[in-house]
Symmetry: C2
Subunit: 489 residues, 2 copies
């Protein structure tokens, strides 16, 4: 059955002034950005930055926000500036600010008690936990049988990596399922065979987190890594494409092949070195390292190569997951032979965690475990979010709004040669700027015009709106983007 | 000014039947444990464990709890059993269940919005953030100037470790504060000098978390570590004392000295190996590895040795912090020359994080950073908790109740030779049992009598009640403990 796109309904509602909280536009959302201070951060934010710096490192703060006044797609700062927010707390607010259905969650007394009586979920879970895991997380599983909740993206990846190692060793042991005494004693002093020489293959430009295991697989920016010891693991090239894709099919295919050849070499090299690759870790779109895409065929082949070498295949959907690519999971665009072995999530999903197949289910208690094992209150928020996605058909809307934004950006790149390589899926989009300095200037000038975006890698501007972005927001965004580009000419 | 101990007030209130929500006993708390099922987990929990296992690893689950019915020091399970809970979600519920002041936090609309509009705190913090950090976290700082919030204990330690490495390298660089091109490029491929060969010294029996950096410093149980690659870092012996302490002063002092000599040797060995020790990581009481204590003199000397070798000194108060030892931080019992360089916390503190001195403040943005950088809603809960601590003088109460429990345990160890080595501070107490099998049996039998405790290490039973434990709870606990021990005779 064809459904009238939600965004059309809303456009109509906007015109007729009949917008209600049940539409994807929240009552009270500003109709356009408003910047009232000559500088950003404004004076009040500046003073608060000083205050904050007296007790913590604060030099990354852009401004202080007023989360009581922020609404829908607009964030308001303490100086009274209101920005159209297409960055959304680094891609992590799925429905924008103060969504009434999210606020409602903890007005329910049972949910409030679940929030305040935070259990050690691995030992004393809430009565509702099994059913909620099924109704909420398993309802959007990417074809995987099990799920574990965690606190954040880094923690999800750390624990998922451990599952990869454990499963690789399980396969090595074969029939012999017991640990040897030598393994049990050597692991306690960080030595093989108990703490084995195994590696994970990651990609140049990747970002998987900042804890020490994940940081060894992160290669986006030196400032994230410098001075921190790391595991000596294989790092493969990630395809670098020429845009527009349809004009560079042959070169990009060659690029895929070149990378895949190097990946096989790395498997062989690390096998020979005595540090076999237990798993391959990859983002569907490199989201911090520059919004770098690879083709479905690349991912298909990479999964086959992983399988060939007995390595687990982990897709990190921490930034891409939750619907912004037009599907719940970005890798669903890739038509893989089978689901990945493990898939991690966080950010828009509100809870961290990972799905995994049964081969990657820990064989004993306490191997993947920690005090909290996530937080039931975050699953309750996710439940509310997913209900809105379904009720308002938001994935459909993301595709419509994303198409409009992408077309607009393509027009901009024709008009302004300073930008190029428009790319992405759904509203999860990016465009490159010739230099880092110019990119930073454009992001800064957009902010001065009331539009909040982010940089990624050295050259990209990334768009990470919530799922409630509408077509009229895109008009505002493109209008301000054009103005900024014109002023640079 | 001498204040009448709160527990006395409460005892009086209990006798006169005038208990109010403002006392440390919550209205509606059971007067004694009640176990109605012949087995634990009961039939309803068993069925839920089956349900849960179909979607996630569930073999560590003890029972499913009813968090609507649980109240104060009593946890109720789905089968209607009510336990006196002196384990409290692995030492993490500071005021027990459904404390009215905690439930009140998110009935406040501003706080509810802070919960639902979860910001990227490193970039767009809430207006209240600087002041709340000062009023809440800095009000209980262990003499350190700065604080960073994180999500959990592992994450707090991971990030604190990074600060140790960064500061060690800063000192090595001396005047030259810029990173070299070689450092910047080599760190991106996980090689020195950018990803340097530095190590952290940890202790046998230690537990600092399960992510790959912290897991390399965890040495409590093989099942936590097996199959996971680890950094080859120095592991020092932790003192093993004979109890009672006052009867073994000379041997225990020799034990301290032996360990301290070995620690210096390890510093020298790892210096020679080209992997200098950048930091020393220690718990004030080894809380997972067996409730192992070391003397104030040991900690004082360890801090001096760390300083001598230019290594940062990190105290991990994840389990010991938050008041249960009778002081807000356990290491405050040690009379150190100066505060530790870094001190991590989580669990009872509701938010993770770490305090650090200015030498350990990251010199640039984005070196210690992640999407959420903690969660403002957890700081709001901590604020409510600390207000209750102050209002009800709970640290004083912990000391009174802890003394009573410790005396009672000492009496038990005289009566029942199967147990020994009663130890600990405040209500953060433990006792050893001759064998692991017997220890597990006692913990299980206590549960059947309605008292929830935990094991630690191979032989210890640990007590980790909330700060609201009262003297009459201790009577119940000791009564059930005696009964269990008698039945084993």
């Amino acid at each position: 059955m064809w459904m009238k796109p939600v965004s059309t309904i809303v456009q109509h509602a906007l015109k007729t002034g009949s917008v209600r909280a049940t539409s994807t536009i929240l009552a009270g959302e500003p109709t356009e950005p408003k910047v009232v201070t000559s500088e950003i951060p404004g004076p009040k934010s500046k003073q608060l930055i000083g205050d904050l710096d007296s007790v913590t490192q604060s030099s990354s703060v852009q401004f202080f926000a007023d989360y009581e006044k922020s609404i829908g797609n607009y964030i308001t700062d303490v100086d009274g500036n209101s920005y159209l927010d297409v960055f959304m707390q680094i891609s992590s607010m799925p429905l924008g600010y103060n969504h009434p259905d999210m606020l409602e969650v903890f007005r329910n007394e049972e949910n409030l008690k679940a929030l305040v009586n935070r259990p050690a979920l691995g030992s004393f879970p809430n009565e509702f936990w099994p059913q909620k895991l099924k109704d909420v997380l398993m309802s959007i599983s990417p074809g995987l049988d099990n799920v574990m909740t965690m606190m954040c993206g880094s923690c999800s990846n750390e624990n998922a990596y451990k599952c990869l190692f454990m499963t690789y060793r399980k396969h090595q042991r074969g029939e012999k399922i017991e640990f040897s005494d030598e393994e049990l004693s050597s692991c306690m002093i960080n030595k093989p065979p108990g703490a084995p020489n195994l590696s994970l293959l990651s990609f140049k430009g990747a970002f998987h987190g900042r804890t020490m295991g994940t940081l060894s697989t992160t290669h986006s920016k030196a400032i994230h890594k410098i001075d921190i010891p790391a595991f000596d693991w294989p790092i493969a090239p990630f395809p670098k494409y020429k845009y527009p894709l349809e004009e560079h099919i042959r070169e990009n295919k060659q690029e895929d092949e070149k990378c895949l050849v190097r990946i096989e070499e790395l498997f062989e090299e690390f096998n020979k070195k005595g540090s076999p690759v237990a798993g391959v870790i990859i983002e569907p779109i490199q989201s911090e390292g520059g919004d770098n895409e690879a083709s479905p065929e690349f991912f298909q082949q990479l999964q086959r190569t992983s399988k060939k070498y007995g390595a687990g295949f982990l897709i990190d959907e921490v930034q891409t997951g939750g619907g912004a690519t037009g599907k719940m999971w970005c890798h669903e665009h890739f038509n893989l032979d089978s689901p990945p072995d493990v898939m991690t999530f966080s950010k828009k999903m509100l809870t961290g965690g990972f799905y995994h197949n049964l081969d990657h289910k820990p064989s004993q208690s306490y191997r993947i475990y920690n005090t909290w094992m996530g937080d039931p209150s975050k699953l309750l928020l996710l439940e509310a979010f997913l209900k809105v996605v379904k009720k308002q058909n938001l994935l459909h809307q993301v595709n419509i709004v994303g198409d409009k934004l992408k077309s607009g950006l393509h027009e901009c790149e024709k008009e302004f040669p300073i930008i190029n390589s428009v790319r992405g899926r759904g509203t999860f989009l990016a465009v490159n700027v010739e230099t880092t300095a110019l990119r930073d200037k454009i992001v800064g000038n957009l902010k001065k015009k009331g539009v909040l975006t982010g940089g990624s890698g050295d050259q990209a501007i990334r768009f990470r709106p919530s799922l409630t972005l509408q077509e009229h927001h895109v008009d505002i965004l493109l209008d301000r983007f054009r103005k900024v580009l014109k002023e640079l000419k």
